[in-house]
Structures are given as structure tokens and as C-alpha cells.
């Protein structure tokens, strides 16, 4: 019988999950190593935890296979850098599932970014960070501010000067 881990969300709901599913979170894996099977996650709401568990359940089957040589080389290469490169999802069906998974509004997406980052689920972090980046691409500053709730603390003159300065720097690509 598969070993079960109990996760408790911030609003008190409890979720029992198979160990291999929960262990995609490095944080949970570390906590359980200290012999604790009930893991409170006060900063993660039920809604977000349900989504994260769904992702982990889907990806648990893929991750149960040993790392291929290319991805362990990648892990070695990235150990000295701040960027973590998890193996890109090669299975097209899984990739398609991932693309559906991230069809969320920005607010929900941001919640998952925070949760995945906190729980240290490498592949989910890469997926959602790249998704956020995709939503920045091709947009001008004003639109980015609106979509991502960034406060504009420039004076109009500062903003104009900045726009001119920055467009010069990267015009000749």
C-alpha cells in the first residue's frame, strides 16, 4: 500500500496524498524526512493546494523514472548558477496538459507561483515562471503595469525620458 502524507491547507482543510506525489515538493520531502507525516502549510490556501496536488499527481509518473544522462548533466551544469534547469517536458501529451493547466487568470497564476516556489517543486516553478514571462512578452510598459498591478511611481517626464533611453539601448539587435 502506498504511503500517504497528510497536507493541511491554510484554511484548515486536510488532504491525503501518496508519498511520491507529495515528494515532488522538496520542502515536503525534507519535512517528512524528519519523521513527520502531517504537514501544515499555513501559507497555501485549499484552492491553490488542490491545483498543486493535481499537477504533482500528473507529473509523479514521469518523475518516477531515473534521470536521463542529459538532464543529470544539466543539473551538474546549473549547480553553480542561480537558474535551475529542470528537464524540459518531452512528452507532447504532458506538455499539452501543462498548457491547459496554466490557463488561469493572472491572480490564480501568481498564487501558484508563490506556492510552487515555497514548496520548491522544480518543474512546476519553471512552468509557471515561463508562463508569466510569456504574458509579459510583446507588451508595452503601461499594459504590463495594468496586467500585473505594478504601481507607476514615475513622473511623466521621467517616464518619457526612460522610454527613449531604453528603446535606444536595444534597437540594434
Amino acid at each position: 500500500m502506498a504511503k500517504m502524507i497528510k497536507l493541511v491547507s491554510g484554511d484548515g482543510a486536510e488532504f491525503e496524498v501518496e508519498e511520491e506525489v507529495a515528494f515532488q515538493s522538496k520542502i515536503i520531502k525534507d519535512i517528512v524526512a524528519d519523521a513527520d507525516d502531517v504537514i501544515p502549510l499555513p501559507t497555501v490556501s485549499s484552492k491553490v493546494l488542490i491545483q498543486v496536488i493535481e499537477y504533482c499527481r500528473k507529473h509523479a509518473a514521469v518523475n518516477s523514472f531515473p534521470l536521463s544522462p542529459s538532464s543529470s548533466a544539466a543539473a551538474a551544469a546549473s549547480s553553480s548558477s542561480s537558474i535551475s534547469y529542470s528537464k524540459p517536458v518531452s512528452d507532447p501529451a504532458l506538455r499539452a496538459w501543462d498548457n491547459e493547466f496554466v490557463k488561469l487568470n493572472n491572480s490564480s497564476l501568481f498564487d501558484i507561483v508563490i506556492a510552487a516556489n515555497y514548496l520548491d517543486i522544480e518543474e512546476l516553478v519553471d512552468l509557471v515562471l515561463e508562463t508569466v514571462a510569456d504574458r509579459i512578452k510583446g507588451k508595452q510598459a503601461q499594459e504590463i503595469r495594468r496586467q500585473f498591478n505594478i504601481e507607476n511611481d514615475f513622473t511623466p517626464e521621467e517616464e518619457e525620458a526612460l522610454r527613449r533611453e531604453n528603446s535606444w539601448a536595444f534597437q540594434n539587435n
Binding site: S82, F110, A133, I136, F148, F154, A169
Partner: protein, 464 residues
């Protein structure tokens, strides 16, 4: 969203202890921890980063290209090139990583195979291969290894050109006209020992050069005559101080730059100075080295649609290992040319065969075709004990007709230039994807093998 299959044992409702996710206050990008922000922004291109920079004061600071040690620009370089090189090793601690990005973005085009065109020193190989080093890009001349080394198919790879960044973030490139450094192995491996890199640096034959692109597929390497003049303007005292502190061993390029700066500064450390005579020669009017032009070999490996395409090596009828380049053109034809040594006919790029009909003959083959193949001898390297080392490639899967004539044929002229069978030939494609070719005028088969796979040269032999 599917219904998750887990058991909810008990749902005890407790008062909301969380302060976050208040429904009236939407979450902002600014609320992310900085490392998360950097990771997200590292997916963007420079123009997208500059758009993002304009959103708020905080992000102008984060995205600024001029700032030294920008964690964002380092992350962008790592994400794009971290697999192939060590971006952090290219620059000193005070450098601008945005400048590093521009340098890597520009020089990335060099990676791969190039063919030297025009004149060159006698015996200089035509084929050149560029690859990533830990803190530089290295170009090597590739030639068939002499004396059947490496099982006969060995190639010599001799580094001759290095490109990197100086202490001050400027592009620098150096060439070794003799073709070889004593510590070339150290240069191309991970330089973890400062003593080995400094012995490579103390080489008086290094020539500073400039690498100029003329479009994406053509570049020129020229001696940089103004290099020493520029170096003299560097504050000699400042440079001396840098030399005396220990520098990270794998910043090879900055050490080379420092070495040249010391050599030409009036107050340079005596221990590092070369004889004065050489310096006068350098800054005199003489050219040490002629400019070289290179054009890109864009497709050096076959694809499913173009199975014969690429850079190959094989033994010619003269029992010499040669390099062959097979290209597909836009009008559905295939040509093969030999990539050879300098001073030869056609400037070392002589035609071998061509065909305009790329339809293969499939098995089963006619008895004529089978006879054509069966009575032939595959040209193989001979082992030391005199026996042929035949690793024959296997079963013929398909056949293609080729032609080796490059004469103009005027239809209707009664006097033909000879028996057409003299120039006709065949390609025999094997089931492992390689192929051999031969002509009706003799009974040889020239079997071809790949020169490189996945940006790695095969069968490299040490130059002893």
C-alpha cells in the same frame, strides 16, 4: 479541472489565519520575492526587458543594463548559454553582464564549421571549427590526421583563434599563427589551475586580431594593428595592481589582455617583460599575419529530408583521407565538393559529383545495379600489420545516380567529350545512414563517415 482522487478525512473550519489573498487587493508582480522576479524576467529578450524596466523605479534598477553585476543580466546569460559555457567566467567582477549578453549573442554565430576562402599559407587547412570554451570561444583548424592515425579516420584539431572579453568588458580576440599553443589542452579544458593558464599566456606569438562579420555567413579575421596603441593608454599603475592580486584562473582572456597591457606599459613589471627587440618589431610596420576570410558551412549534418547532406570524411582513390561537403541546392540538386588544402585547384573546394535527380532507386535492385556494386572494392585504411581495417557499413538500402562531369554539354553536337559512362556514378546509401559513392570508370567505393555529431568532432587525434 478533473476531480482529484484523494481522501479528505476531516474538514475542520478554522478562522482564516492567513493575511494574504484578500479579495479586494489583487496580487502584484512586485510582491514576488526578488529571485522569483529575476527568474521570470530571465526568459525575456533585451527589448522585452527594456519595456518591463519602464514600469516602475524598482524595476528600472533591477533591469538596468549598465549596472555592474546585474543579477538579472547574469540570469539571462545563464539561461541562454549556461549549458554551453560558463557566462560568469567570461567577465571580471565589475563587468556589465548586459555587455556580456551582447558579446555572446554576437559571437554565438561562430559556433560550428566554416570554410576558409581565398589564399592562405601553404598547407593551412581549409576547414575550421568553432566551439564554446568555459570563458571564451575557440576556433580550431581541422585536417585529416597523417599516417592513418585514429584507426585511419582520425582528424587533427588545432586551436588557433580565441575570442573573449577583456577586463573592461571589451571584445578581444587572439590568434596563434603557428597554429598551436603548448597548453592548447589547458585552454580548451576547464582551466582550474592558474599556473597552467599563465604558461599559455606567456607566448610571444599570440597576435591580437579583430573578427568582423560581413553578414551572418562570412567573417574576416585581421590583425589588429591598433591593439598595442590602445593598450598603452591604459593606466599602467592600475594594471600592475591587478596583476599582483591573484586572478580567477579561468578568466583566460582578461589575463591575456593584462599580459599585453603590461608588456607595452612603460613601467611594466620586469619579470613579465619580453625582450625589447620583439616589441619594436610588433609596433613596427610589418604585418605578422595575413587576413583570412571564412564562410559558414550551414548544414553539416544530414536531416531526414536531406539524408546525404553534411560534412563527411572518406578515403579517396589516392588512399588519402579527405573531407567532403554535400549540399542540397534550391532547385532540387545535390553537389559534393572536396574541402581540401590550400594551393590546390579550385582553391581547395573542388567539385566531386553532382546530380539533379534526387530520386533514389529502392530495393529490390535490378541485377545490373547489383553487379555494379558487387564487383567493387571499398577503399579502407590499412592497419600497421598490412591488413585492411574494413568496418564495412552494411547493407545497401537505396541507390542514387550521380555525375562527375563539370563540362558544358551542348545537346546535338555529334562529337561528345567521351564515353558518358566515364562520368556516371552511383551513391549507395547504407542502412546506418552513411553512404558510399563511386564511378563507373573504376571499381572503387569511397565510403563516407560523419565528421561531427551534435557539435562534437569525432575521432580527434592528438597532434604529437
Amino acid at each position: 479541472m478533473t476531480i482529484p482522487i484523494f481522501v479528505v478525512r476531516s474538514v475542520t473550519l478554522v478562522p482564516r489565519a492567513m493575511a494574504s489573498s484578500n479579495s479586494t487587493l489583487a496580487m502584484s508582480f512586485s510582491d514576488f520575492p526578488e529571485d522569483v522576479q529575476i527568474n521570470i524576467l530571465s526568459f525575456l529578450s533585451p527589448s522585452e526587458v527594456s519595456a518591463f524596466a519602464c514600469t516602475s523605479r524598482r524595476f528600472v534598477a533591477l533591469c538596468g543594463a549598465a549596472a555592474p553585476n546585474s543579477p538579472l543580466w547574469l540570469a539571462i546569460c545563464e539561461r541562454r548559454w549556461g549549458f554551453r559555457t560558463r557566462p560568469r567566467s567570461w567577465v571580471s567582477s565589475s563587468a556589465s553582464f548586459a555587455r556580456l549578453y551582447k558579446a555572446l549573442d554576437r559571437w554565438e554565430h561562430l559556433i560550428g564549421f566554416w570554410r576558409r576562402i581565398g589564399h592562405g599559407g601553404p598547407g593551412t587547412p581549409h576547414l575550421v571549427f568553432f566551439e564554446w570554451g568555459p570563458s571564451y570561444i575557440a576556433g580550431s583548424r581541422v585536417s585529416p590526421a597523417p599516417d592513418a592515425a585514429g584507426g585511419g579516420y582520425g582528424v587533427l584539431k588545432v586551436p588557433f583563434l580565441w575570442l573573449g572579453l577583456s577586463q573592461h568588458g571589451e571584445l578581444v580576440s587572439f590568434l596563434h599563427p603557428g597554429g598551436r599553443l603548448d597548453s592548447s589542452a589547458d585552454l580548451l579544458g576547464s582551466v582550474s589551475d592558474s599556473s597552467s593558464s599563465s604558461s599559455g599566456v606567456a607566448d610571444p606569438d599570440l597576435v591580437p586580431v579583430s573578427v568582423s562579420f560581413m553578414g551572418c555567413s562570412h567573417f574576416v579575421v585581421e590583425e589588429n594593428r591598433s591593439y598595442f596603441a590602445d593598450a598603452r593608454e591604459v593606466d599602467s599603475i592600475g594594471v600592475l595592481e591587478e596583476i599582483e592580486t591573484s586572478s580567477p584562473p579561468d578568466r583566460l582572456m582578461s589575463e591575456i589582455y593584462q599580459y599585453f597591457a603590461i608588456r607595452t606599459s612603460p613601467g611594466g613589471d620586469k619579470a613579465m617583460r619580453r625582450p625589447r627587440k620583439k616589441e619594436r618589431e610588433r609596433s613596427g610596420g610589418r604585418h605578422l599575419w595575413e587576413a583570412e576570410h571564412f564562410v559558414k558551412i550551414n548544414k553539416y549534418y544530414p536531416t531526414p529530408e536531406r539524408p546525404l547532406q553534411g560534412l563527411w570524411k572518406g578515403f579517396s582513390e589516392d588512399m588519402i583521407l579527405e573531407f567532403y561537403l554535400v549540399s542540397y541546392d534550391d532547385i532540387g540538386g545535390i553537389t559534393c565538393r572536396r574541402v581540401g588544402e590550400a594551393g590546390e585547384q579550385f582553391s581547395g573546394y573542388s567539385p566531386v559529383f553532382w546530380t539533379s535527380n534526387t530520386t533514389f532507386l529502392e530495393s529490390p535492385f535490378s541485377s545490373d545495379e547489383q553487379d555494379l556494386y558487387a564487383n567493387r572494392e571499398q577503399i579502407c585504411p590499412v592497419n600497421a600489420d598490412g591488413r585492411k581495417s574494413s568496418d564495412s557499413s552494411g547493407v545497401v538500402s537505396r541507390i542514387l545516380c550521380i555525375n562527375s562531369s563539370y563540362d558544358l554539354v551542348i545537346p546535338g553536337l555529334s562529337a561528345s567529350s567521351g564515353d558518358p559512362r566515364n562520368v556516371e556514378g552511383r551513391i549507395w546509401e547504407y542502412d546506418d545512414g552513411t553512404f558510399g559513392f563511386g564511378f563507373l570508370r573504376n571499381n572503387y567505393i569511397i565510403d563516407l563517415k560523419h565528421i561531427a555529431v551534435n557539435e562534437f568532432l569525432l575521432d580527434i587525434v592528438e597532434d604529437l
